[in-house]
Amino acid sequence: MTATPPTTAEAARPLTTLLADLEASHRSLGMERVRSWKAAAPERRAIGCLPVFAPREVLWAAGALPVFIRGGGDQLETIRGDAYYQSYICRLPRSTLELGLGGWLDALDGMIFPNTCDVIRNLSGVWSSLFPAKLTRFLDPPQAGDQAAGIRFWRSELSALYRDVCALSGREPAPEALRAAILAYHQARRAARRLEAARIETPWRFPVDETYLLRRAGDVMPPLEWARLVDDYLVAAGARTVRPEDRIRVLVQGAFCEQPPLGLLRALERAGCYVIADDLTLGHLDSDDPDPDPGLDPLQALAEAEMVGRTASAVRYDAQGDRGRCLAAEAKRLHADGIIFAAPSFCDPALLDQPRLTKALGDAQVPYTAFKYAENTGQFQSIREQAGTFADSVKLWGHA
């Protein structure tokens, strides 16, 4: 892992202050970062994107900041949002509606709803009825089958989106702007990979709650600014003298949409685990880099990257049916001692995926445990107990 010297104004801050600011920003529902970014120039726009996909390069090239909306977290009391939904679905659509109806998302000029699950698809319809003056777009990324047809379809979807967002910001669509956006997100993706590598290599220096806060900051920041912030963090946190502990190395799976509270992530590590990798912020710079070759059509490059390089997940059709085997292989490659399945209650994609994953892990003799949470879960004792006894059983009776 290499990291460049501190470069941003934020680097001048001590690590504790930087982390405190990240946490304050994370806990604030008011999107101050987005508002201040927009305030710097009147033509700037911001577009919200629901998990787990955001066409970031397209939005950025069109002059809009892509902003991931991953629910209301544990700070939001959901009252109006509850009125629109039955009780037996996850909290994400209710808290997202609560944010919208409460004015917390006023800084956004539009919303994109990817086809993550039925709930998010339905939310796109509710949203367009409630906020008819704002751009609302349902995006259905191609899944499998004829790859060439998928790329053609996806290019046309991205092209239409690009045109519409350019119209919002008053920009003319231009291939150069798209290429520049691709290059900017290249740098952000590389920063994300440096962060991932650092966690895998020395997880005691890069606790999951810190790296998570950093990634969540990336949900609301311009790409290059975020990449610099990551490097600043890597330098500052990497210089810490932290004694490694005898903990198990785990992968956390299933928390890709509705996010767990920060306290839950802390509880996992306090219980004796190092979370070396996770799918918590799936969609955040995890696909392959589109090709920035000036000779290529940038929209074509983006469509190909989406079809070929998108990270395998519970919300992507697995034509080979080998995601479980891949997860077991990934655990071995990363020298993980076990897997923790942490899924939001009522999350169909995560919970329906779990049985075949656990079957494959059982076959490969990779230990795992599973629990459910909600974004507003406030008590972590039972989760800590489960993670703690899992860590003990792996350390004492397993192969760790």
Binding site: R247, A271, E385, K395, L396
Partner: protein, 287 residues
């Protein structure tokens, strides 16, 4: 195999316990020192600093660096920076319980805030467990509060309770209601011993339920702060005596330290396991 010296730190909600043990080549555990200190509104880190040094001195260990493994248990975050690893409280009490009483097949840990019944096998592997809910009734903090209301020293509670001829019934559901009951009893002139015996009967009723739910078998070793309370042990024996196959209820002079001793012993186990897998210092820089 060589002898290993390790330490266990049990961070409870009202007291911190530290044990230093030797694990011999044959796996035998010898406790070299076991010390505890009540937190009493001080910073737990400060209390830990004090008693860790005391435990090392009593065990004649020069410095923390001379220990093969320092294991924390309980609310172990306080020991971050000092510890090598952490074990969950149940795992530590299971091992510590069996070190103190190898016949035990159930460990009943009654601490300041929680009580838990842990069924174990002969290798100290946890087979099943049950834990009380967050309500403080049936735990050490509750007894301590009552003793304070009654003006009785904590170490006198058991004997005074056992000397009483009858128990004054107390709410067994809620610590707050029980404390109100006790205030009423004092104003009604009920004898202190009868109140304490009533308290013990109430706690014993809950612990008996816990043991039945955990399907606790074989001799039951009480650990944690209330293990030393003879009045509670007697009440629990009476309560379980109503069952056909009532287990024997045991305690040990070092029951308070079961968590710390168990953590230290697991630390030695882990050290040897990691040493077999790869030289620890080279692999991850663990002490």
């Amino acid at each position: 195999m060589h002898r290993l010296t390790t330490a266990g730190i049990d961070i409870g909600s009202s007291a911190i316990k530290v044990a230093v043990v030797d694990e011999e080549a044959d796996g035998q555990i010898t406790v070299r020192s076991a010390v505890s200190e009540r937190i009493r509104r001080r910073a737990p880190a400060q209390v830990l600093g004090l008693i860790f040094e005391r435990a090392l001195a009593e065990a004649r260990v020069g410095a923390a660096a001379d220990l093969a493994y320092i294991a924390s248990t309980g609310e172990g975050d306080v020991a971050q920076g000092l510890r090598t690893g952490h074990f969950y409280g149940m795992t530590s009490h299971a091992r510590g319980g069996l070190i103190l009483e190898p016949r035990a097949r159930t460990v009943l840990d009654v601490g300041a805030l929680y009580a838990r019944a842990i069924q174990v096998d002969e290798h100290a592997k946890v087979l099943s467990y049950r834990m009380t809910s967050q309500c403080a009734a049936g735990t050490g903090q509750f007894v301590e509060n009552i003793a304070r209301y009654l003006g009785v020293r904590l170490d006198e509670v058991g004997d005074i309770s056992n000397a009483a001829q009858r128990a004054e019934p107390v709410s067994g559901i809620c610590a707050v209601l029980a404390e109100t009951d006790v205030i009423n009893m004092v104003s009604r002139g009920i004898a202190t011993g009868e109140i304490l015996r009533g308290i013990h009967e109430s706690i014993a009723q809950q612990l008996a339920k816990l043991l039945r739910a955990a399907r606790g078998k074989g001799p039951v070793l009480m650990t944690g702060g209330l293990a030393a309370d003879a009045g509670l042990r007697a009440a629990l024996t009476r309560r379980l005596g109503e069952d056909d196959k009532a287990p024997e209820i045991l305690s040990h002079p070092r029951s308070l330290y079961a968590g710390a001793i168990g953590a230290a012993a697991w630390g030695a186990f882990r050290h040897r396991k990691l040493e077999r897998a790869a030289p620890i210092d080279q692999e991850a820089g663990l002490a």
